[in-house]
């Protein structure tokens, strides 16, 4: 008996070793069968939250490059949207010089690029933003600036590597807009100090505007493509001017945390501007 106890004492660590190794092998075997892994599930419920916060931390370091990729992908998708094109008809002539068939084709009217806001103000009467791209990157005056959530402003001044953007939050900012579903055209202006709210002007009093209606660009300006969200109707009042409504618009763009912006270039801007200038002269 004594011998037996003595033996166990001496061999105890070997037994522990064997038990632990067998346990490991069993766990390994269990983990290889995908269906029934209760151990993994039990442990995951403890480890999961810890791991999640850790992964979040590490993910944050990678957000920069990932965002750049997503922005580029966004641009590719946005370029294909129908409001980027105008329809044209090409008449194909026969050899005899008579019209044969009509080719409808889409001509690209707008193109996109992107930039990052490196400085912006929101609390002044004349606000402005500066983006990190300039004439070297193909930025030009009067390009439209969009935030991921909606219209942001217009490029007003371009240096070699930077450009100034006039946001909606500027007394001189005027954007032609259409409010749906009433389909009334008006102008979005900003007055006052609230960076979240602008006004929609020149909407006739008879139109039925409801709170929550969306305000889009109408594409009249040749700066903004058609159908970009400016904001939503927040308040409708009968103004002093009897024939028009005063409409408060909650801006879609959050100017307080704007970083990535998309810039829209009108490829036929010169042509369209010439036409408009001619019209004015007459």
């Amino acid at each position: 008996m004594n011998n037996l106890i003595e033996f166990f004492k001496r061999a105890f660590h070997i037994i522990v070793l064997a038990v632990l190794l067998i346990l490991s092998i069993v766990m390994l075997g269990k983990s290889l069968s995908f269906n029934e892994n209760r151990l993994a599930r039990a442990v995951q419920s403890i480890v999961g939250p810890i791991q999640e916060s850790g992964a979040g931390m590490i993910h944050r370091f990678r957000l920069g490059p990932e965002n750049e990729e997503l922005v580029k992908q966004n641009i590719e998708l946005m370029r294909e949207h129908e409001n980027m094109f105008i329809g044209k008809e090409d008449t194909v002539m026969t050899e005899m010089g008579k019209p044969d068939s009509v080719n409808r084709k889409q001509v690209r009217l707008y193109d996109y690029t992107y930039a990052h806001v490196i400085y912006r103000t929101v609390d002044r009467a004349f606000n402005y933003m500066i983006v990190d791209k300039g004439s070297n990157d193909g930025i030009a005056r009067d390009m439209a600036v969009l935030s991921p959530s909606g219209v942001a402003g217009v490029v007003t001044d371009v240096a070699q590597n930077f450009a100034t953007v006039r946001p909606i939050l500027h007394p001189e900012s005027r954007i032609s807009a259409v409010v749906t579903p009433a389909n009334q055209n008006g102008t979005v202006i900003w007055e006052g100090s609230d960076p979240r709210v602008a006004y929609l002007e020149a909407i006739p009093q008879h139109s039925e505007i409801n709170i929550g209606d969306s305000v889009f660009t109408n594409g009249y300006s040749n700066i903004f493509p058609k159908g970009l969200l400016i904001g939503t109707v927040k308040e409708v009042q009968v103004g002093n001017n009897a024939s028009f409504l005063t409409i408060k618009v909650k801006l879609a763009t959050k100017y307080t945390d704007i970083y990535t912006v998309y810039l829209v270039e009108n490829l036929f801007k010169d042509e369209l501007d010439t036409l408009k200038a001619n019209f004015k002269d007459e």
Partner: protein, 173 residues
Amino acid sequence: MNNIIANILRFLLLLVAQVAICQHVNLFGYMSPALFLLALFLLPLELPLSLQYLIGFATGFVVDAFAHTFGVSSFSCTVMMFLRPYIVKMLNGANNVKFENIDRPVPGVKDFHWIFLYTLILTFIYEVSAVLLGTMTFKNFGHTLLVIIGNTTFTVFVIFCIEYIFHPREKKE
């Protein structure tokens, strides 16, 4: 007593560093450090053998839990802890039967040569076992070998960096 607290703190610290940082590091696809091994390397050899095995197993289990590789690390750590005394005996020239506090891979206590071989051999044992159990195949063995060597190199490098940062050689033999 002081020693025990130091050991426990070191364990926690290295385990957190392992699951929070090292597990997400993977250089070139075949270099991933197993920093927590340092905690096991520094474990006193005077502890009862069964306790050493248990600690090894538990450490491996925690690492497994975070890596979703149940059994892989636990098995490898236990095997490594089992072989550790023999490696130390071998490095000491087999004349030192009783283990003492000086049999630790700490700069100043042992020379570079001893620490290097100790760390390299034990890491290699762990990685061979862990990588083979992890891949569970001898297919594409060239890559498996690359992973074993890459992991071992990286781990030894990181452990050495930490050893020599935290134990400046103040008491030279």
